[in-house]
């Protein structure tokens, strides 16, 4: 019986969370704006809710627990092999439909980069290939919110946009000194 109560409560949790962002009238208005749209808005996850409520600026006292929860969500590739196949990683990095990294980051030899995120030009030559840098790069791609709460960068691993192995491929594309990313000039010249 107790299990049943918990199951019912668990099922209601996303609904309850959305309720705390949108009032009853607002919920109805969102529901009247398209089923799939309403689904996305009314099933906001707990962390999305926090970012929404604080308009993307988490208060200092909420940040440590937020970061800890984001960090805990990270799954690592088999055998903690953070660097995969850089060529596969390049195909992912430079694909608009896939990871679309170049749209925001400068440094790709294949696509002109944007400036929403920091420049990654010659990332592997700048940062080296230490285990710490590999892990950090992997974690930022897997879940950018574990370092930068509520930032615009997609949480590729958490949201299932890339598998851990695909993320390791992108890490290799950025870090491997033999990768095109580090041997060829970035498209668009120096900034």
């Amino acid at each position: 019986m107790r299990n049943l109560i918990w199951m019912v409560l668990a099922c209601m949790a996303p609904w309850a969370m959305a309720q705390s962002y949108f009032g009853p009238g607002e919920t109805k208005a969102v529901q009247g704006s398209g089923a799939k749209f309403a689904d996305a808005l009314l099933n906001m996850s707990a962390d999305q809710l926090q970012c929404s409520l604080h308009q993307n600026r988490l208060p200092a006292d909420a940040t440590p627990s937020f970061l800890a929860a984001q960090k805990a969500s990270i799954q690592y590739p088999k055998g903690d092999k953070f660097m995969g196949d850089w060529q596969k990683g390049g195909a992912i990095f430079n694909n608009l439909q896939k990871a679309n990294c170049f749209s925001c980051h400068f440094g790709s030899p294949a696509n002109l980069g944007g400036d929403v995120g920091p420049s990654l030009e010659k990332y592997g030559l700048q940062r080296g290939q230490s285990e710490a840098v590999q892990r950090y790069t992997y974690e930022v791609i897997y879940n950018a919110w574990s370092y930068f709460p509520c930032t615009v960068m997609y949480r590729f691993g958490v949201q299932g946009l890339l598998t851990p192995e695909e993320i390791a491929d992108v890490v290799a594309y950025l870090l491997n000194p033999a990768s095109d990313f580090n041997t060829k000039p970035a498209l668009g010249g120096k900034r």
């Binding site: 704006s33 749209f37 997609y154």
Partner: protein, 259 residues
Amino acid sequence: MRWTGLALLLLSLLGVLAQSVPEDPRDEAKRQKQLLLQTSGILPSDLIVEQGKDLFYTKRGPRGVSLEGCDFGLGAGVLQGASVQLPRYFADTGKVEDLDSRIRTCMTQLQGFKPEEVKRSEVVPLAFFIAAQSDGLPIQVRIAAPAEREMYELGQKLFYARSGARDMGCATCHVSYVNRRSGVLPFSDVLGKDASMSHWPAYRYSNDQAWTMEDRIRACYGNLGHPQPDFYSPVPIALQLFMAYQANQAKAELPGFLR
């Protein structure tokens, strides 16, 4: 339509020239607009306005009436200054409506079209024509009726909401990363300097596209793989009321002319 062809040819030539000199797309759009007016004497958006004018005054629909009897907020048939006061609450429908949804209301209730017969290819030119009658006027939306307050608050929440597989949210780009570029164009300062609601509906010359703000909002979601809100639904209306209120007093350029 011959004009459109000529205009497009000119545009593509100008586009090639423009690419060699990176500059603010806002200044670039102003210059291109000026050049087009000097060379061909007409803008592609003027043609869309004319098309909307024809649709507006023609007796159409099952009831065979024009849209002259439609009240866009300032009384039946009063168009000047109407679109800069939208979205607003309409007592006859009991709803807050934007330009798109009010056009649809009149096409269904006045002209007798069925909702599914209301085509975007007619609503958009009509919106261009009606908006053009407010060119140069300041944006003046009010938050007075309870329904307007509710919609404003919903719009604000939607603007800052994070949702979907890419944690999408309007403010994430259009507040936090204003003027930064993802792709070709910098993110506009929707709530601030750009007062985006002051120049929509707009014509985008880089891809010969005529859009209302409903189209624009839907594209924002769609481009990020987020499910889109339906046309004429509360979500795009709420977002517009929130954005328009932030743009109050900004001088309208209608229809807008953008890159």
